[in-house]
């Protein structure tokens, strides 16, 4: 047995025979031609054929991988309308008397070189797209059919690298997995594999030609591939894969269905996300919206205080891509326990009870306003909710709302469009907020229970401390009582109440929460469908 490692793109297991996928090396006819007209016609036919192909790939990719990933094929098709590129190819045919295949190869290569010589990594990476389209044109001219390369048996494909169009062209029903020597986790190929839910390993440097036809296991959980696995390993990983498949199939059936109990009560199930990179998982897992978008990533991923513009772009991307789903963005929730150099926060004895979240925002108003302005600007692109964390008093909510109103007036004076339909809410994560829930509810459209902090503050237990395990009870009656009080207070004031902490995904509590009257549960994207399954199995009339 041989073990080779790489970078795993997806937690999943693929078992089957290896098929080495090699694009054929073709020979370009370098001889000169007398008559340019037939060559021009050949090129035009090939161009139209490839353009139609790219359109088909676009449509295939929209279904399999989503609009965002598919857009690259639209670019490919547009490229084939570019006058400069077409003129360059035609000039090689007419003036230099070359064949259409020679002209296409060189014409596209020149443009690819232009991109690869640019400074910016984004534009450099576009040279791969130009080469991808150029190859498609040459293949069309030479009548090369790459569709046979995949074979007719289901297999794990092994390749040096796969262009995006190659990845999408592949017949998914014959794909057990994908391994490449090259590629980055941000390449289009990796993104496509991820959104197509295909176990894939990239940067696997030990790929060898003699793997062809051998039995293999691609283990995405452990980022490796076993060639000629031992019978024991084959048996245990087959069992694990079958378990995965069974779970997956059950959950897939739930997509598009509502979160309704047997007796007809429907609630919302949203996803918690950490940034624009999680957009795909929201779509794949069929979450109805985003109940908690932790905006910390914009602060943590940045060396300096992120500008309004940077934040706006990140929020806009999520809102726009997922529109019209409701996206609740929580304002900056950092504190002394998360060190951010540029914030210059003092070290504290007790950071959990310290200068954090909305307390920082209401002290450093300019800092807060940058985020609020970015949020308001982004609101024009989708369905936004804004949520303030760590609230204990009514005046804090009022002050947050005043600053928000001030930002809105500023933007409107600048002629910037801001949505009129933004829901405002707070995190309920302190015992103070629970006890004042009636007053707070008068100020907001929704409450979201942050059960992690609420448990820590209610029980005075630090969850990170292993010594306290015996005393820590995630289902502590005081916490459950606090949740019930919050829901009741919210409903007295027409304020809807959700849970966005880890308890929301605890299936043993789903029925309890439904009976308490919760309106929404927001959980990590992977838990959305299991939670839906649980809700649909509950009968509250019994």
């Amino acid at each position: 047995m041989q073990v080779a490692t790489g970078i795993s793109i997806l937690n999943g297991i693929g078992i089957g025979k290896i098929r080495i996928y090699k694009t054929p090396e073709y020979k370009i006819n370098e001889s000169l031609v007398e008559d340019a007209i037939p060559e021009l016609t050949r090129f035009e036919n090939a161009r139209l054929k490839v353009q139609a192909q790219q359109q088909v790939l676009y449509e295939k990719a929209v279904v399999e991988a989503g609009e965002d990933s598919a857009a690259i094929f639209q670019f490919h098709a547009d490229m084939l309308d570019d006058d400069d590129l077409l003129d360059a190819v035609k000039t090689i045919i007419v003036d230099q008397k070359h064949t259409a295949d020679y002209a296409a190869k060189h014409g596209f290569d020149n443009v690819a070189t232009m991109f690869s010589e640019m400074d910016d990594p984004y534009f450099q990476a576009r040279s791969a797209d130009v080469i991808d389209v150029g190859n498609a044109v040459v293949e069309a001219l030479l009548g090369i059919d790459t569709s046979s390369l995949q074979g007719t048996e289901p297999s794990i494909l092994v390749a040096e690298d796969l262009a995006p169009s190659e990845t999408v062209k592949l017949d998914k029903s014959l794909m057990l997995g994908m391994i490449t020597r090259e590629g980055s986790s941000n390449s289009h190929t990796a993104i496509l594999a991820r959104s197509m839910n295909l176990p894939a390993l990239i940067q696997c440097k030990d790929i060898a030609d003699d793997w062809d036809g051998k039995m293999a296991i691609l283990d995405g959980y452990n980022s490796c591939v076993y060639i000629d696995p031992t019978p024991d390993l084959l048996e245990s990983l087959t069992a694990k894969r079958n378990e995965d498949l069974k779970k997956e199939a059950l959950l897939q059936e739930l997509k598009g269905k509502t979160n309704t109990t047997i007796d007809g009560k429907t609630i919302h199930v949203y996803a918690n996300i950490g940034g624009p990179a999680d957009i795909g998982s929201v779509q794949q897992n069929d979450a109805e919206g985003v109940g908690l978008f932790r905006s910390e990533f914009v602060y943590l991923n940045s060396k300096e205080d992120p500008s309004e513009e940077q934040q706006f772009q990140a929020y806009k991307r999520v809102l726009e891509t997922l529109a019209p789903k409701l996206i609740i963005i929580r304002t900056c929730d950092i504190g002394a326990d998360k060190t951010i150099d540029y914030m210059n926060l003092d070290k504290e004895e007790n950071p959990a009870l310290g200068f954090r979240a909305v307390r920082i925002c209401l002290t450093r108003k300019d800092f807060f306003k940058r985020q609020l302005r970015a949020l308001l600007r982004a609101s024009a692109y989708g369905n936004l909710g804004i949520m303030f964390p760590m609230i204990i008093s009514k005046w804090e909510v009022r002050e947050c709302k005043e600053i928000l109103a001030e930002c809105r007036r500023e933007l409107e004076n600048e002629g910037v469009k801001v949505s009129d339909n933004i829901q405002i809410g707070i995190m309920v994560e302190t015992p103070a907020a629970v006890l004042c829930a009636d007053e707070l509810a008068e100020e907001v459209d929704f409450f979201s229970l942050g059960t992690n902090d609420l448990t820590q503050y209610t029980c005075a237990i630090d969850r990170q401390n292993a010594k306290l395990e015996r005393f820590a009870d995630t289902h502590h009656p005081a916490v459950l009582k606090a949740i019930q009080m919050t829901i009741d207070a919210g409903h007295r004031h027409n304020t809807w109440v959700g849970i966005c902490g880890e308890l929301g995904a605890d299936l043993s509590l789903t029925e309890t929460f439904l009976r308490m009257g919760v309106d929404e549960l927001s959980v990590n994207a992977k838990s959305v469908l299991p939670l839906r399954k649980q809700i649909r199995s509950i009968d509250l009339s019994k």
Partner: protein, 86 residues
């Protein structure tokens, strides 16, 4: 002839998808439309690859020149498009 300046806010600059959309928008107008960078490079905005070849990044200010019979409405439409998409 109409002329306006525009500062790109999109994090990756004038990249593949918006460039493609911009070309489509530009082609809907009869006027000749040119985009020039601060470094003095310019491209016909009807040409996708030339436009991308300018390598316009976030924060770059470009000058857009619109010349032709429908320049008034073309300039307005393109400025709006750029504000919305770039």
């Amino acid at each position: 002839m109409k002329e306006f300046k525009f500062t790109v806010t999109d994090p990756v600059g004038i990249h593949a998808r918006p460039a493609g959309l911009l070309v489509k928008e530009v082609k809907a107008h009869a006027s000749a439309i040119t985009i020039a960078t601060e470094a003095g490079k310019s491209a016909d905005a009807k040409k996708l690859l030339a436009l991308m070849g300018l390598g316009i990044k976030q924060g770059d200010t470009v000058t857009v020149t619109v010349d032709g019979a429908d320049e008034e409405e073309a300039a307005a439409a393109i400025e709006k498009f750029m504000k919305d998409n770039l």
